[in-house]
């Protein structure tokens, strides 16, 4: 991409932007189609779920445009404030949130429920980017401990809900950003050593804080075939759905695993299994490739960002979405325990949809402003 090109397309969208948007739209379409396929055959009353998701998609795309439009440097200035609001919302959730299956994750807001653990991710990325971008952070205290203390309350509040998946996602964003910023080797070595030593204690604490069904899910991951009707049921049914799709898939509405409800939660956490069953290996590889293209474009934006804030912002967004994609597909295909992480841009859920599209809007924001100061 030449300088010329960028200048010419300053106000409009260039080829890269269109490609970026095209990939996003393709993934969104696959998601809505899968949700349509699962929920349409089930008797539902009221507004169909796939149309709800489409509505959230429109809202998300508006958020995308807003996030792409406002200079990210301005947003970075409010990052601490936004993160603070996010933490307050997480506290509200714990105090008076709406419970579902033993976890308190939602705040009712008129006809909707919002999930603060999703919404706080963007402020987290902005905060980390702003922190490392403000002045050069020297020494491992400034490079690791201080940002760690920023992340910790959010991580703990989400874990307390409990929402293991989201809290791990929270941690993942932090780790990838820290890794990108880089450590002085001594400090890094110390951290690794400390982490290894603290691991058994941390594991005990984490394990104890999990709910029974979460512990069951992780245990059943060890041998899902042992109890098909019980703990490993979701994982096994999901693998059957994906595997039985074979090369070409069973076609829209043709997936027996999902259409006959052997696979629960087909429109949320297990939407990938629905897609893979009905579109086969070809479809799932195309989808996986779309995500790869999206990540590569995101990392390309990070590489070409004009400053540290922009680069880390881009890396954080890619880390957030990539974590969701990798863990979700690993979980549905039986490579990871069923921890309850939605597939970004595909699983049903308004909060996640708006947050993910906002984050992608920030990516485009970084890309479009890389030459603005020259």
């Amino acid at each position: 991409m030449s300088l010329m090109n960028d200048n010419v397309n300053r106000r409009g969208l260039d080829t890269f932007d269109w490609c970026f948007l095209g990939v996003i739209m393709a993934i969104l379409s696959a998601g809505i189609l899968s949700i349509y396929s699962v929920t349409n055959s089930h008797s539902t009353t009221g507004f169909p779920i796939y149309l709800k998701q489409a509505t959230w998609m429109v809202v998300g795309l508006l958020a995308f445009l807003v996030a792409a439009g406002i200079d990210y440097h301005k947003l970075a200035r409010f990052s601490y404030l936004l993160y603070g609001i996010g933490l307050i919302l997480l506290i509200i959730v714990l105090v008076g949130g709406k419970a579902s299956r033993g976890a308190q994750r939602w705040i009712p807001l008129g006809p909707f429920v919002v999930q603060p653990s999703e919404f706080i991710k963007v402020p987290l990325i902005l905060t980390l980017a702003a922190y490392y971008g403000a002045t050069s952070r020297e020494g491992w205290v400034r490079r690791l401990i201080v940002p760690g203390l920023i992340v910790l309350p959010g991580f703990l509040l989400i874990l307390k809900q409990p929402d293991l998946g989201s809290s791990l996602g929270f941690l993942a964003i932090f780790l990838v950003v820290v890794l990108t910023v880089g450590m002085k080797s001594k400090a890094f070595g110390f951290v690794i050593l400390a982490a290894l030593m603290l691991f058994p204690f941390a594991w005990g604490g984490v394990w104890g804080s999990l709910h029974g069904y979460q512990q069951d899910r992780i245990l059943s991951f060890v041998d899902p075939n042992s109890d098909p009707g019980g703990k490993g049921y979701h994982g096994l049914q999901s693998r059957i759905a994906i595997g039985s799709g074979q090369l070409l898939g069973k076609g829209l509405h043709g997936g027996t695993q999902t259409q006959f409800r052997f696979l629960p939660e087909g429109h949320t956490d297990f939407v990938f299994a629905v897609f893979a069953e009905e579109s086969g290996f070809i479809g799932s590889i195309v989808l996986l490739s779309l995500y790869i293209i999206l990540f590569l474009m995101g990392l390309e934006i990070a590489l070409k960002a004009k400053d540290v804030v922009g680069a880390l912002l881009a890396v954080g967004v890619v880390a957030m979405i990539a974590f969701g994609v990798v863990v979700n597909i690993a979980m549905t295909s039986g490579l990871a325990p069923v921890v309850g992480i939605p597939l970004p841009l595909m699983s049903y859920g308004g909060s996640a949809m708006v947050v993910n599209l906002t984050a992608l809007g920030l990516l485009l924001n970084v890309k479009r402003r890389r030459l603005s100061l020259l």
């Binding site: 990108t180 059957i240 595997g243 039985s244 027996t256 799932s284 890396v315």
Partner: protein
């Protein structure tokens, strides 16, 4: 600017490290791609099978059981639609709760349910109750949510429109038992199959069964059927036409009434069983409809033994009806001629004992005809004493005693024809000549079944044709729709002189005209017969025959009457046995007469066009 340059350095560092982030992500995504290849391509067929097993259920389609008709096409057994209650084991989480709740809606004992469930594994369907009412079915359907795994399936149920009539012949059906499942005879049948358990239902099960079909249906995760994938229709069993004439059968059973006993009527020429009655009886509808364990126990413990088919399983001393065989032995061995007469003074001294005639003063001068007609005991004491046990046993066996007739019904008994060899083997004692004297008038160790005596009557009626009593007349084959007549059983001719039979027949005719069975005399048809009174020796506190009337009923003698008619050209052979009714002449002979007259009237009145 220093800050700017440090920023630039920082940025360059970050840009350098991005490659690791990129490679890391790519490796993870490639790993996922490989995993998808593994699941969808390498193991795709395996998971396809799992998905199919998940969603398909195979349902056995029960064939309609073949129908049963009598010889004139009168319906004896059919199938009616009914609701069957099943429990689908995979769908039951809380067994105890279900066992507690189900009896609220269905008339069933909780213990019965747990018994039925305890035997079986955790998979598949178990039939809990057959023939639940429409009301019960509706109650269950409306409480479906509380009763997960409970399935109501409309199926055919065996029905016997004549209720108790011919129950012992028809038998009943029931679910294949655990032990039957292990039996190679039933090796091709699955659990839950309804098979014949008694009577012709059992003996001709292979004709009646038909072939099961199979339907493969697609179900969702809750077990609700979505659509049918394939159907292999069941093939109904063949319909059977029995030799029974149900009009005669009904009459025979009505004649016995509340008394315990048996009546057998045969066509003497081909062995067709026209009637085979046994009382007390039962209603096969009660048993076939999945009887409860408690009722079944009660049924088995009934002291009147309603399940016993007395016509083929009841073993009684023949009493004086055995004199028919004695007469044949006498004449054939030329021990006595028919004309020779013997004086009878009412007693027969033998060693230290005195055998008495049933008639205190005796019968005077007695020849064979008179001896049969008046059932003179002394005549046959003497004859038996001269013959000895071996010839008696030999002729008894020639007439088919001591062996099964081979009628196509389960659990036929063979009775007992004693001989000196038998006694040595079984009793470990020698044969005493005095025992021969008892045998001569049909007492002692000798026992026979009513069907055997019917065979004896047939042999005499036809001058020595030995036929096997048969029940299976014809079948309508389901595959072709054709009516297939069963070949008549082979006939064997006894090597005895026609004169012998002529003399015996003369005697038997005299029994009715001027002898012990004058109550069987008919204006309509000539009847020949022989009365018998079988002593219930073992039970009687005292051997005195004359005190029968004062005795408690269970110690009274059994009344026999063996007959055929018309004498000149016999069309029917009949045996009547009524337990504890005393003399055959008074108790049994009138029943035989009524039956014979009815049968003769069927012959003259035009038959309804049916078969």
């Amino acid at each position: 600017m220093l800050d700017t340059s440090r920023q630039a350095n920082e940025l360059a560092d970050i840009q350098n490290r991005l490659i690791f982030v990129k490679v890391g992500f790519l490796m993870l995504l490639v790993l996922l791609g490989l995993r998808l290849w593994q699941l969808q391509i390498r193991d795709g067929l395996f998971y396809q099978d799992l998905a199919r097993d998940n969603r398909t259920r195979s349902i056995v389609l029960e064939p309609a059981r073949g129908l049963l008709y009598d010889r004139n096409g009168e319906l004896l057994a059919n199938n009616i639609p009914s609701f069957q209650l099943y429990i689908s084991l995979e769908d039951v989480q809380d067994r105890e709760g279900l066992i507690a709740r189900l009896p609220q809606y269905v008339d069933i004992d909780g213990q019965d349910i747990s018994d039925k469930l305890s035997k079986k594994s955790r998979r598949g369907r178990v039939k809990i109750k057959a023939g639940i009412t429409l009301k019960e079915a509706a109650l269950i359907e409306s409480h479906r949510i509380e009763l997960p795994g409970v399935v109501i399936q409309p199926e055919y149920q065996r029905h016997y429109p004549l209720k108790t009539y011919a129950a012992h012949v028809l038998g009943y059906v029931g679910e294949i038992s655990e032990s039957q499942l292990k039996d190679p005879e039933f090796s091709n049948l699955q659990q839950g199959r309804i098979i014949g358990q008694y009577g012709v239902e059992r003996t001709f099960d292979k004709y009646l069964l038909g072939e099961t079909g199979e339907e493969v249906i697609e179900v969702d995760a809750l077990g609700y059927p979505k659509r049918s994938l394939s159907v292999q229709r069941p093939l109904a069993g063949d319909d059977l036409y029995l030799t029974l004439d149900i009009r005669l059968q009904r009459l025979a059973e009505d004649l016995l009434g509340e008394e315990a006993g048996a009546i057998v009527a045969l066509d003497p020429w081909n062995g067709d069983v026209l009637a085979l009655a046994s009382k007390p009886g039962f209603n096969p509808n009660d048993v076939s409809g999945g009887i409860s364990a408690k009722d079944w126990q009660q049924f088995l413990q009934d002291t009147r033994h309603p399940l016993t088919n007395r016509a083929i399983q009841g073993q009684y001393p023949p009493g004086s009806v055995f004199k028919i065989i004695m007469a044949a032995a006498l004449l054939e061995t030329q021990t006595l001629s028919a004309q020779e007469s013997i004086p009878c003074h009412g007693t027969f001294p033998f060693g230290k004992r005195v055998f008495r005639d049933w008639k205190a003063g005796g019968h005077g001068q007695v020849d064979l005809t008179k001896a049969i007609a008046e059932s003179c005991d002394v005549y046959f004491y003497k004859a038996g004493n001269q013959l000895g046990i071996e010839p008696i046993a030999t002729y008894a066996r020639q007439f088919g005693l001591g062996g099964k007739t081979g009628i196509a019904l389960p659990s036929e008994r063979s009775g007992l024809v004693p001989s000196s060899e038998w006694k040595r083997k079984v009793k470990r004692e020698p044969w005493y000549p005095g025992e021969t004297i008892s045998i001569s008038i049909g007492q002692g160790f000798l026992t026979v079944t009513p069907i055997q005596m019917a065979k004896v009557a047939s042999i005499v009626a036809t001058n020595g044709r030995v036929v096997q009593p048969r029940l299976f007349k014809a079948s309508r084959l389901r595959r072709t729709g054709n009516l297939k007549e069963e070949p008549e059983p082979p006939i064997q001719q006894l090597a005895m002189s026609p004169k012998t039979f002529a003399h015996i027949k003369e005697g038997l005719a005299a029994v009715v005209t001027k002898g012990t069975a004058q109550r069987a005399k008919s204006d309509m048809v000539s009847i020949a017969g022989k009365t018998g009174t079988a002593q219930v020796v073992a039970l009687k506190p005292d051997g005195d025959k004359d005190k029968n009337k004062e005795l408690q009923k269970e110690f009274r003698d059994h009344a026999w009457f063996v007959a055929f008619a018309p004498v000149e050209h016999p069309k029917i052979a009949v045996v009547v046995l009524v337990e504890h009714m005393g003399h055959g002449g008074s108790a049994s002979a009138p029943l035989a007469k009524t039956l014979i007259e009815a049968y003769m009237s069927f012959q003259t009145t035009p038959q309804e066009p049916s078969l």
